[in-house]
């Protein structure tokens, strides 16, 4: 379980997250939505310590990660995978090498083992034939599927997605969402920052609506989308739906 407890984050004088508390249960899919600049990415990045929180606690499986030293930060990163809007595949490595690098380097998997797992994961995201392709030879949707497979190669217990389809051409959004949906079905615990309201409605167990660094609403999707409580959420939904 991930538990965020009265979290604050400031960049200089700019308070970007203020008093954020939330829980993500094992197996749940949480969709985080809200206007641009509301702090969604920053929240996600705090959860795997790509940003250091200014105040408050974050617990992952009951361990407070805000007090960890460098070595244990790596343990958390193994547990919590991340998928970025712009993929960030390693351009000088082939798809399969993108997948095997961290398991070999960080988890000390044997080359054979890492390779076997990578082949299987590429199959799972429908890209068996692209194993030896460099990222520059892949379409946006394919890159993002490789990026998801790369995160999965570390056997994470939690996956964070930061707008995984926002940089994609419309016709490629579905192939990525399909992969994410099948992950959700298999019980992966996921926090997804997204503008895909259809995905949130269909897959999420819980929708978190953020604005100006605060969580304004937490509700199951059918409730949130049919009866948003705050004016901000109503305004936002009018704009995006």
């Amino acid at each position: 379980m991930i538990k965020v407890d009265h979290l604050y984050k400031s960049f200089g004088n700019n308070e970007v997250l203020s008093d954020i508390s939330l829980e993500i249960n094992k197996g749940d899919v949480v969709a985080i939505i809200g206007p641009s600049g509301s702090g969604k990415s920053t929240l996600l990045r705090c959860i795997n310590l790509l940003e250091v929180p200014s105040k408050g606690k974050i617990y992952i499986d009951n361990d407070d990660i805000t007090t960890l030293n460098q070595r244990n930060v790596i343990k958390i990163r193994e547990k919590v995978g991340m998928v970025f809007q712009h993929f960030h595949l390693f351009p000088h490595k082939t798809a399969i090498d993108n997948l095997t690098y961290a398991p070999i380097k960080v988890k000390q998997n044997s080359k054979d083992e890492a390779h076997r797992k990578a082949i299987e994961l590429l199959k799972r995201v429908g890209l068996s034939d692209k194993a030896d392709s460099y990222p520059s030879r892949l379409s946006g949707g394919q890159k993002q599927r490789v990026a998801i497979a790369r995160a999965l190669a570390m056997d994470p217990q939690y996956l964070l997605f930061d707008e995984p389809t926002s940089a994609l051409d419309p016709e490629m959004v579905k192939e990525v969402l399909d992969v994410m949906m099948s992950l959700a079905k298999q019980g992966m615990t996921m926090a997804v920052v997204t503008h895909e309201m259809g995905f949130a409605k269909m897959v999420a167990d819980k929708v978190i609506f953020m604005d100006h660094g605060q969580i304004l609403e937490v509700a199951p999707p059918n409730e949130f989308f049919s009866h948003p409580e705050t004016d901000r959420a109503k305004e936002f939904l009018e704009k995006v739906l």
Binding site: I74, F84, P91, A102, Y134, M154
Partner: protein, 221 residues
């Protein structure tokens, strides 16, 4: 005396001059390797968050950039025996000076390459739990170096040409050998123009090799 008779007079010495190419290349190559290794280390210090190392690296760089190379060379060659009692050879003085000097320039080039790597690469590696040094070695530096290959090739060519000043401490490189032949025959134009031509051909060859290498390296794009 005509130019051509001048050439025929030194004809037997031309191979001697040409063979200086190996000394010149050896100095350039060894210095480039020292410079590269130093440059990588210094650039990592510069971008790292240990303030004292960053400061020392900047200071190191400013020293080598802020003084004449020929003075650095002279100092290393003539002052080392007096300071530490070690009778340094001209060749060693040459590669130390050029290597350390090149390290200063190389560190700036490599730093600019690292800064040009997409920040997302650091984040992706970080998010996968890759330790800092592995990330630098396996993810960041290969991409950085690819971006700065032309600048590094330039640095190597500069090194090759500038190495001519080792002639001032008596290393028998291309330049020095031309001077030796000139002095022996009291004849300047033919031997100097021979070394002139060899430097030029050498630099052209290096330029072409550099382009081929770059093309090879850019295959993954």
């Amino acid at each position: 005396m005509g130019i051509f008779s001048g050439f025929s007079l030194i004809a037997s010495s031309i191979p001697y001059i040409i063979n200086g190419v190996w000394t010149t290349l050896e100095i350039a190559l060894v210095s480039a390797i020292i410079g590269f290794v130093l440059g990588v280390i210094l650039s990592l210090f510069k971008i790292g968050n240990i303030k004292i190392l960053a400061w020392m690296s900047d200071f190191y760089t400013s020293i080598f950039r802020g003084t004449p190379l020929i003075l650095q060379l002279t100092l290393v060659y003539f002052a080392t025996p007096q300071l530490i009692g070690y009778d340094i050879s001209a060749f060693l003085a040459a590669i130390i000076t050029f290597g350390f000097n090149s390290g200063a320039y190389m560190s700036e080039i490599i730093r600019s390459g690292i800064n040009a790597v997409d920040k997302g690469q650091f984040e992706a590696a970080g998010a996968l739990g890759v330790p800092y040094w592995s990330m630098m070695k396996d993810i960041i530096l290969p991409q950085a170096i690819k971006k700065i290959l032309p600048a590094m090739m330039n640095e190597f060519i500069t090194l090759t040409k500038e190495s001519a000043i080792v002639s001032t401490i008596g290393v028998l490189d291309l330049m020095r050998r031309a001077q030796v032949v000139a002095a022996e025959n009291s004849l300047y134009f033919p031997p100097l123009i021979v070394s002139f031509a060899i430097y030029y051909v050498l630099v052209m060859i290096l330029t072409i090799l550099g382009r081929l290498f770059e093309r090879r390296m850019s295959r993954s794009d």
